[in-house]
Amino acid sequence: MLALLEGGTYFHREAIEGERLTGRFDRTIYAPELDAAALAGCDALIVADRIHPAVLRRKRPLLLGYLATGGTLIVLGENRAQDWAPGVAWEFRPTNFWWWLEKGTDPGHRIAAPEHEIFRYVGMGELVWHYHGLLTPPPGATSLVEITPEGDPQGKGGSILYDHRNVGGGPGRMIVTTLDPFYHHGSFFMPAASRFLGKLLDWTDEAFRASR
């Protein structure tokens, strides 16, 4: 069973209720109303991008408790996850909306673990658009998509998507990204972001809603 945590914005509403994506979430939870009952029975919880971080900080005990009981959190970008989610190390990078204006430019995206199940659905065509900062995956996590040092304006490189199983030695799992597809999809802006969200949900259908 797959649940979505949403923040009451127009772009969350469009993604949930708009005609382009329908029936992809078994349950939607308005973040300020998140409680233990809402999380009961959820195999995975997608934390939609760009939820007000104050709400997520306030709900931190519930989210940690959910991980401790074996839940999977899929945390999307611009949620200041480094302030409330375990193991998240994030560095700011200026958003480059313009990478595609020069033909032949390599923005630096690389699939780092092609055998991972998510890549049965998500490919480079869905991944290469702007991102909001870089992650350093914690020990035990698998980096799935990286930005090369050459693609990073600071020359360092880092991860924009990783999978962290057995968070803190417990049964919980966190998939973390600095991509923010709900915002762009729900704003009718950037087809690549809509494609990424669609493919991500194809994967969550298989991984967490397989009994359907």
Partner: protein
């Protein structure tokens, strides 16, 4: 005196931090954490600016407070799409169906102090890329003044109306207007003119 409040949603993108840091404009704005709205006395302010990241479900729960702010002569500025109509004059966003680049060109429809001296081409494109300003309409209520529109279909992207309860409502169906601050073009005029307009006495219609 900071007589305009901006509801803060703690988002890096959108220009709030740059605006608050600005030596001239920053001191004119009170940054109000979104979820503190319910315990804030708005009578101290002339205007309230609400950006695209706002939790509109929460704003719907604060509708009586927002209406009483309007009724005392306050001005509310709403940027972004309407997903949860939290005031009577707000209607669900309608995107331009299958828009093409020419549908995203901004047209000037009526003079307004906030957009005075702003060239539409500076709104239509950033670095040659169209679509940042708007991609559809928050359908205006009857009696609204359409200020700017998009494309040959002239889809309203900016309107001002006088809400039934009183006050003024300015609605921009796109990215936050404060994001144009520091753009280095005539769009830089928007923010100071917006603050001036909010704090000036209400014009007769």
């Amino acid at each position: 005196m900071n007589d305009v409040a901006l509801l803060d949603c703690e988002q890096a993108e959108g220009g709030v931090q740059d605006l608050i840091r600005d030596l001239a404009l920053g001191p004119r704005i009170a940054l109000l954490p979104l979820y503190d709205l319910g315990r804030t006395d708005l009578t101290a302010f002339r205007g309230l600016m609400i950006g695209l990241h706002a939790d509109q479900r929460y704003l719907s729960s604060r509708r009586a407070q927002l209406e009483s702010f309007l009724a005392q002569g306050g001005t509310i500025v709403v940027c972004g799409h309407v997903g949860h109509p939290f005031l009577a004059e707000l209607n669900l966003f309608a995107p331009i169906p299958n828009y093409r680049v020419e549908d995203l060109e901004v047209n000037h429809e009526a003079a307004h102090p906030v957009w005075e001296g702003v060239e539409m081409e500076h709104l239509s494109r950033r670095r040659g890329v169209a679509g940042f300003y708007g991609r559809g309409s928050n359908p205006p209520p009857p009696g609204a003044r359409i200020l700017n529109s998009l494309g040959p279909g002239r889809h309203p992207v900016d309107f001002e109306c006088r809400p039934a309860v009183g006050g003024r409502l300015l609605v921009h169906a796109g990215a936050d207007l404060w994001g144009y601050h520091g753009s280095g073009s005539t769009a830089d005029r928007i923010m100071p003119q917006l603050l001036d307009w909010i704090t000036a006495p209400m014009e007769a219609w």
